[in-house]
Symmetry: C2
């Protein structure tokens, strides 16, 4: 069992220099926990950055097999400390134990998964052009392109995934896999989980002879530590998961740097679902059940929780509303992650309800909530852009459109989204719907809900602004590594040099361009 | 023959609403040309943006074969108008006819080349995960990921490539290939070439039934048109080639937008060359000749022209200096692109020469120059960051390092570069040199000069800041298309939908993930 006494981890150094402290809070009781967490000082942050810079020089050059072994060992270490991790996860977030277990499995899988992306050579993305010394007027050079890591990465964990988007999360795993040291700004809503996770990574790093500074964990309740981290020129990329306000504030700080860097911010999304008239008529209750379950899942505290449901006027609409209302009213109260989150939920719901009509108003007690169902017409939706703003937590709004044309207009008025879903029958012509959906979302789901982001090769988790700040990239799937790498081309290097890299990749896929075709 | 009367092209509409005019200048004589070019008004720019937005809705959905045919036809059209194009290219830029011909061939090739990237399916970058309905606890969905165009793209052409980085250039070709409409801010140093090129694209677009607004050409001498273009929310990406000052000014304007977008700016680079002691001893004259030819090429007006030459102290260094001085002094005077460019060249050379020692001072007459060779010691280089700032045009500075350690320090002190070269023998251990070069450059060349950017699959043209603003992307090679596309994943879509896209790609490469391996 590790010791959690509110310390920062400046590389391998435990450090408690500051005099500003904060406490974790039990969301079920609103009672604070005992341990005082000590906010990192300017000097501690500076030391962590300098160590990361130095560690990068070593880490990027160690043999890839060692990087792979290190990543896999983090997964093993987390599994071996499962009990303590799950204890703090549930205590700090009020999320249920089955969720904690699923999320920890996902986190461990992600470390192994990104290790595989490195081991197979996928992460290098090697592309090769053969030389043609006889080409006229000038010989064609050989070109070999591959990815290199960008340098120290700063990660801001998310409140709603204390494992999978925090210290043991995908941003950390993919940045380490890319060959970059990581500095985590701990999320103040789960400092124990965060601190314990950090110690597991550091212990693994030590055991694998990784350089001091490959990982640091910095505590802060206010914005100053984050500001210093993203504005320091030693930081070369930033991963963030949180609100639109938080992401944009970080981007504004980054805009003041003399050297621009990429911020990969995953922000808000209402994950609209469209149900066609035919699908609604054929499967009213099945659809109501699926969507309700998705809204209800862990009190809707997911970036992919559905918030908007678009339907055309029809006889079955009343059945749909009644069915969803029933599922919502029969559901148990669920505790939100933190008093700050539930406070914001109630505020946003109240704002939202000045623009819509409430069908079923969820009950609440302290930080415990039941979902609310509301509705509005397509015309009202079009005239008031506030209606589409996310209410983080279980909250669903039905938008009644009078016909396909109004539905199309409503969808066109949407901001960028992480996901959009369409419930339809296979024989229906979805061309018009898909034309607008591909412009608005990063992932489009057929007959399914947006929650449940498969950690898989062809996944895209990241959509047009404001759902993400950089929709060209994904935070889930092997391609997430590309956020922390840039390509370098080697021209006319000797065969021995090229072969060393191509050989590494011999059992894996790489693209070789030969005689005008890539093979 | 097209008519050039100083008009803007707002989609298919010729437009001359403004009252601000500017003239082209013959750099050989400093005489202005006759035609008054009329700066686009705020209303004209607004109309062009609205047309682009509307055109995008059509263009992104037309069958891919039509897009491919359109791109190829632009190449044909340019070839058919070769004489007029080359006439204006040479007249406005003072570049020689053989260069004009080479550059036009490259431009035409690029349109065909990006058409192939679309035709083969490469541009879609399809990735596929098969479903597994039997997986426990939850079925695995099918996922198909592919790229979609982002929307209207604004392109700022470069002064030094009136074809290949201007209206008929790689940014325009790759954006059109991606499925995006393009708005070009014409470069005021070659308005005739730019205007003629625009008319050829528009004529081809009409012949291929492309929507009005797929292409616009806007004239401006000052910054206002560019500012309006990049700050308008209908613009979804920007391509720029020019100075660091110009690129950063654009980035600052973009930072004021409520919706962030990517600026792909290729800015300055000194393209350092390192010659090892062994290589210098073995091949003094050959190396001097190659490097001199590269510096001399078209008065050094390339983003990849070499400006810094690093060598360790050795007996052969004096021979190298003498040989380069001889090549420089024997070279003919070459006219620079524009009086503005030569003025800046003389200013920068003067500034630079307050920090270095001149070995051979090139002659000059009006806008005609001969290269200058200067030198400095490693210690001086390390203590004065101004020495590494680019002098745009033929200008080479030798940095004498007292040993390998000082050389390493000098290389570590470099800003980001588009390229770095190393002249060495195959048996030499280059590990330390390559370790620093991969962190500093986008392309690394073995025994060769940086000029001559192969338009090829595995090319990387774009390096760490400030050589580029976004080093994750390239402006040359098929991957340049990715600057104007973002990925979308389709989850659980019916086989018929998936097959339509996979079939399109059947003869091409795509990645299919099956049973834990990608194949």
């Amino acid at each position: 069992m590790k010791r959690i006494f509110g310390q920062n981890h400046i590389g391998y150094q435990e450090s408690v220099l500051g005099d500003r402290v904060f406490l974790g809070i039990n969301p079920k009781t609103n009672e604070p926990f005992e341990t005082a967490f000590i906010q990192a000082t300017k000097e501690e942050v500076d030391t962590a950055l300098e160590k990361a810079k130095q560690a990068f020089e070593v880490y990027r050059l160690i043999p890839v097999e060692k990087r792979v072994a290190f990543l896999k060992a983090i997964s093993e270490k987390a599994k071996a400390n499962k009990e303590a991790l799950i204890h703090w996860f549930c205590t700090e977030s009020a999320l249920p134990e089955d969720r904690a277990e699923t999320e920890l499995n996902r986190s461990c899988y992600q470390f192994e998964y990104y290790a595989d992306a490195v081991a197979t050579g996928y992460a290098l993305e090697i592309k090769h052009d053969s030389a043609n010394p006889d080409r006229k007027p000038a010989p064609k050079p050989s070109l070999m392109k591959m990815n290199v890591p960008v340098g120290p990465v700063v990660v801001f964990g998310a409140s709603n995934f204390p494992f999978a988007y925090s210290v043991l999360g995908g941003d950390v795993a993919s940045a380490l896999a890319a060959g970059c040291p990581v500095l985590v700004k701990a999320h103040a809503m789960h400092p124990h989980t965060s601190s314990l996770s950090a110690q597991l990574i550091l212990e693994t790093a030590r055991e694998h002879g990784m350089p001091d500074g490959i990982f640091s964990h910095l505590l802060a309740e206010d914005f100053t530590v984050g500001q210093q981290l993203v504005q320091d020129l030693r930081t070369k990329a930033v991963g963030f998961t949180g609100s639109i306000g938080g992401g944009m504030a970080l981007q504004n700080l980054i805009n003041e740097r003399s050297e621009p860097i990429s911020l990969y911010a995953e922000m808000g999304s209402s994950n609209p679902i469209v149900v066609t008239k035919t699908a609604l008529a054929n499967r009213t209750n099945e659809i109501a059940k699926q969507i309700s379950a998705s809204v209800l899942l862990n009190a809707g505290q997911f970036c992919t929780s559905p918030g908007l449901l678009f339907v055309e006027e029809s006889a079955e609409l009343n059945h749909l509303k009644a069915a969803i209302s029933r599922y919502f009213s029969e559901s148990e109260l669920q505790c939100m992650l933190h008093p700050g989150i539930s406070k914001r939920y109630f505020e946003r719901a109240k704002e939202h309800e000045t623009c819509v009509e409430v069908i079923y108003k969820g009950r609440s007690e302290g930080n415990f909530i039941q979902p609310t169902l509301s509705e509005t017409g397509g015309e009202a939706f079009l005239s008031n852009p506030k209606i589409q703003e996310e209410v983080f937590g279980s909250y669903l709004t039905i938008i009644r459109c009078k016909d396909a044309s109004e539905l199309q207009s409503c969808l066109r008025s949407l901001q960028g989204q992480l996901t959009m879903s369409v419930y339809a029958e296979e024989q229906e012509d979805l061309q018009d719907l898909l034309a607008v959906m591909t412009m608005k979302a990063g992932r489009i789901i057929f007959n399914g809900v947006p929650t449940g982001v498969e950690v898989s090769f062809a996944q895209q988790h990241g959509g047009p602004f404001p759902s993400s700040l950089n929709s060209y990239f994904t935070s889930v799937g092997w391609d997430a590594i590309k956020r922390f790498q840039r390509p370098v081309t080697f021209q006319n290097f000797p065969g021995a040099f090229e072969n060393k890299h191509l050989k590494f990749n011999e059992n894996a896929h790489f693209l070789h361009f030969l005689n005008g075709k890539y093979v």
